[in-house]
């Protein structure tokens, strides 16, 4: 029973370190990549047509996207830390009662 419990806790720690933290890091890198996809007015053209509005619409989408990705990255990182902490605290409690 106790071995099974420890294995369950180790599984949580492993999941946090092997999957959640790298995933949070991937999303964070993705958010940074989106940050690098900013444009300047010359990208769209500076003529009298709708070009400036086009740039503004693009930038609104890009910023929404970047913010959403940072939110996911930060939350995932917090969740990875909390999951690992829960498992470590359970293991510590288990050692105290053994």
């Amino acid at each position: 029973m106790a071995d099974g419990f420890r294995a369950d806790c180790e599984n949580l720690i492993d999941f946090s370190g092997t999957y959640l933290r790298p995933l949070a890091s991937d999303v964070s890198e993705s958010a940074q990549a989106v940050s690098d996809l900013r444009t300047c007015p010359e990208t769209w053209g500076t003529g009298p047509s709708i070009y400036p509005f086009l740039g503004a619409s693009y930038e609104a989408v890009r910023q929404f996207f970047e913010d959403a990705q940072w939110d996911v990255a930060v939350t995932l990182s917090d969740v990875a830390d909390a999951l690992c902490a829960v498992a470590e605290n359970y293991l510590r409690l288990d050692r105290q009662i053994s």
Partner: protein, 232 residues
Amino acid sequence: MGFLEDCGLIVNLGRAAGWGDTVVEMTTRMKDAQAGNTRELRRLSDGWATVGEAVDRGLDLAADALPGTMANWEGGAADGFTAYMAQVRGVLKLHGERAGEIKLCLDTIRCAIERARRDVEKLANSTADALRDITAAADPGGMRALVNGVFERLDGIEKIRGENERAARAELERLAAALGDADVNDISGPPEPTITTAPSFSSAEFRSRHQPPELNKTKVSTSPPEHGRSLR
């Protein structure tokens, strides 16, 4: 002859024929109609293509490993964590789809500019040739007809580019609204009882099937053990 040389010739010949202001307006519109950085738009498009793919593998690996990891864990917080992981997966997959749609918008805009550029360059070239002939023949009537014809074709080129870009802009605005929707954006963490926002929770809310009975009714901290004052 290149586009800029054509424009220079058009301005010089037009001025010599007494149509200076008109040909300057003409070449200005030609330059504006083909403005934009297609190389940069291609770089952006390529960038959005990789954004969607960047997290796919890690996401799938985590989704595959999750059922095995959580197989022996139960309780509201455990279920909340599993639900959160499904939600994150859904949101990130949606982000991937949105990135692909942004890429398509950029491709539409780039193609519109490339088409306008080809059409304007052809127009500038044929205009320079026609102006040369008209000047040589000293034909003011021919000049008027040429100018009207060029402005008409410029109207057409600007219209096509404008239509494509308005469609792309409408799509970008739709995407901005979609990204602002709660189902894409609201991923603040697992629902209550949560393993992130609560400083601790009852072991009943996140318990192992192998849990020793002595651990029932304990409180488990969500902070690492060195800060785990709630342990008892």
